[in-house]
Subunit: 339 residues, 2 copies
DNA sequence: CTGTTAGCGCCTTCAG
DNA sequence: CTGAAGGCGCTAACAG
């Protein structure tokens, strides 16, 4: 049995108001069928006592929790170090709050944690789930759809109609950055991309090559896959820049990579952007602290969070028809590329 | 009524196993009083069907949610831009996960949101609450204690025995940084501090002055309060550095302030650290990207999160005695100060 | 060791 | 327009 608590129940309010619990319930849920006078009397008592319906009881009765789960594919402590997840989390939080949903945060960096999330879902702790950066073939996603849990993916596109998703124009951004370098007369372009299993990286690659295709015939280009951190960027740039046929433009798939490239250029005495243009992705907080400041791509994180929540709630409430959305990115021009 | 769902209940499992619901319940909660054979048979069926007890029902019955709320005093989207909150959130999340608690995230940047959190608490959505950076006189904290909600503060010390708290040695760090500059022969020290309503800033100030007190008599020093961002740091440093009696050491209350100081020094052609030593606080991600790299103070965020969760769970479960903890900071020596 | 019996607090038909 | 009653799924006393 539940331990005693001084909390009031709907029955207490009912007897205080001289009505039945049902009437109080109807009143609190704004349902029709309560006289104006009665309603006001009840509402007064409710606010006098600061009464709040017990959420567990309500959940048990309605089958809805009014909570959405946000599942990150990393340790929480890793999530927060990521260039975009924290802001995305913030956006999701704000959007949820506006929609009057609470959020629960989960992380899965190991199989047991997948189970934990599924337990939470199976235990009906959440009405739906949003997954930043999970592939549609992710085992968690599979099981979620098997369990008919409303699910929205962020940063991954899929044909599966039971899944909602939101992504942004990584391809366009990469293409535009590349075209700009080309327009500045660059003839030897390299893309330092992240691993292809990251959906965003595949799109960025596509954009890069799309731009290259339209380039003059004397342009040479190359795509190299590296880890998405500064050390890898530095190492790759070192090799490239000291080799024959050194690039005069490097499009990087992340600011971290780009900062490594900048380090290498500085060590080699290469002038950025005069001799070498460099661009990043993410608009990380440190992008304004590098020397020179990094030209980069800003994701529409706020809009992404809002869109994801909108889609998810529509799925939960069985309304809405659209199941996905693609949002535009913004290029932030700074000092590491020519104007 | 709850809508139909294909989910199994404890009764289904019970009849499948040929026992009563009570026995299944005891089994699933590892309570004594179930025969070994029966227990195993039930467990097999449970796992076969992937059965999970409905959390709402369990909550209603036990009065416990196994969820803790984390309340930030900002918009979620602001929280994530903060130098330490995201990592703190991560640490809390990891600690909660280890302790088998789920976390719910709330933010209060306006009075209505205070109500929202209280509703959540009153609706018993959480068993306890941790508040990063809330003062003990904060209205939310007052109401939380009135409602007897187990509460732990982070970064704020209080004498109120009903509150738990965790903080770290901001004072020691500031003192040590100051002493080091003194030891390097600095004679004109300035502390660029944040507003005094921030508990950490008060402690940092205390440490600074404690170190100054032990200094030689020809040392002059000053504390100036600025906003905790780069622009304010830059402006203050500009004034200081171009004035008479320019400082040769500046202890800043945040990396953001310090990066502004670095900018000013560079513009003025002042050599850091030779002519001017500069230190920050927080070990923000950009601190390794500044030129020169910033000497700063790293907070024990992981330990703080773990300690806060430990304290909170002890309060929730009515065990434990200690109600607070002070953790040590670490100074990260980099290029903006002399070795 | 196991079954039975009451609730936990709310929502929701069904009467009146 | 309002009251009464049953049920959501689980836990916890109490019998046996």
């Amino acid at each position: 049995m539940a331990q005693r608590s001084g909390r009031l129940t709907i029955h207490d309010i009912a007897s205080l108001a001289g009505v039945s619990a049902g009437t109080v319930s109807r009143t609190m849920n704004n349902l029709p069928g309560v006289g104006q006078a009665t309603r006001e009397r009840i509402l007064a008592i409710v606010s006098d006592h600061g009464f709040k319906a017990d959420s567990a009881a309500r959940q048990l009765s309605t089958g809805r929790t009014h909570t959405i789960g946000i599942v990150f594919p990393l340790q929480v402590s890793e999530v927060v170090m990521h260039p975009v997840y924290p802001e995305l989390l913030g956006a999701l939080g704000d959007a949820a709050q506006t929609a009057d949903y609470d959020i629960m945060m989960f992380t899965v960096s190991s199989p047991e944690q997948v189970e934990h999330v599924l337990d939470a879902v199976d235990g009906k702790r959440v009405d739906g789930v949003v997954l930043p950066a999970a592939g549609s073939r992710d085992p968690l996603v599979r099981r979620l759809t098997e369990h008919d849990v409303p699910t929205v993916l962020i940063g991954h596109r899929t044909r599966d109609q039971t899944l909602g998703w939101v992504d942004c124009t990584h391809d366009d951004a990469a293409a535009q950055l590349t075209r700009e370098m080309l327009a500045h007369g660059r003839r030897r372009l390299v893309m330092l991309n992240g691993p292809a299993h990251v959906s965003a990286c595949r799109l960025r690659s596509r954009g890069f090559w799309a731009a290259i295709e339209t380039a003059a015939s004397n342009v040479t280009s190359e795509e190299i896959v590296v880890e998405m951190d500064a050390a890898s960027g530095r190492a790759a740039a070192m090799a490239l820049l000291t080799g024959s046929d050194a690039p005069d433009g490097i499009v990087c798939a992340s600011d971290a990579i780009a900062s490594g490239v900048l380090d290498a250029a500085r060590e080699l005495g290469i002038d950025v952007p005069a001799q070498l243009e460099v661009s990043g992705f993410d608009d990380s907080s440190f992008a304004i602290h590098t020397t020179p400041q990094l030209t980069t791509v800003r994701m529409p994180l706020l809009e992404t969070g809002a869109a994801a929540m909108r889609l998810l709630i529509a799925m939960i409430e069985g309304s809405g028809t659209s199941r996905h959305e693609i949002l535009p990115t913004t290029i932030v021009h700074r000092e590491s590329t020519l104007p």
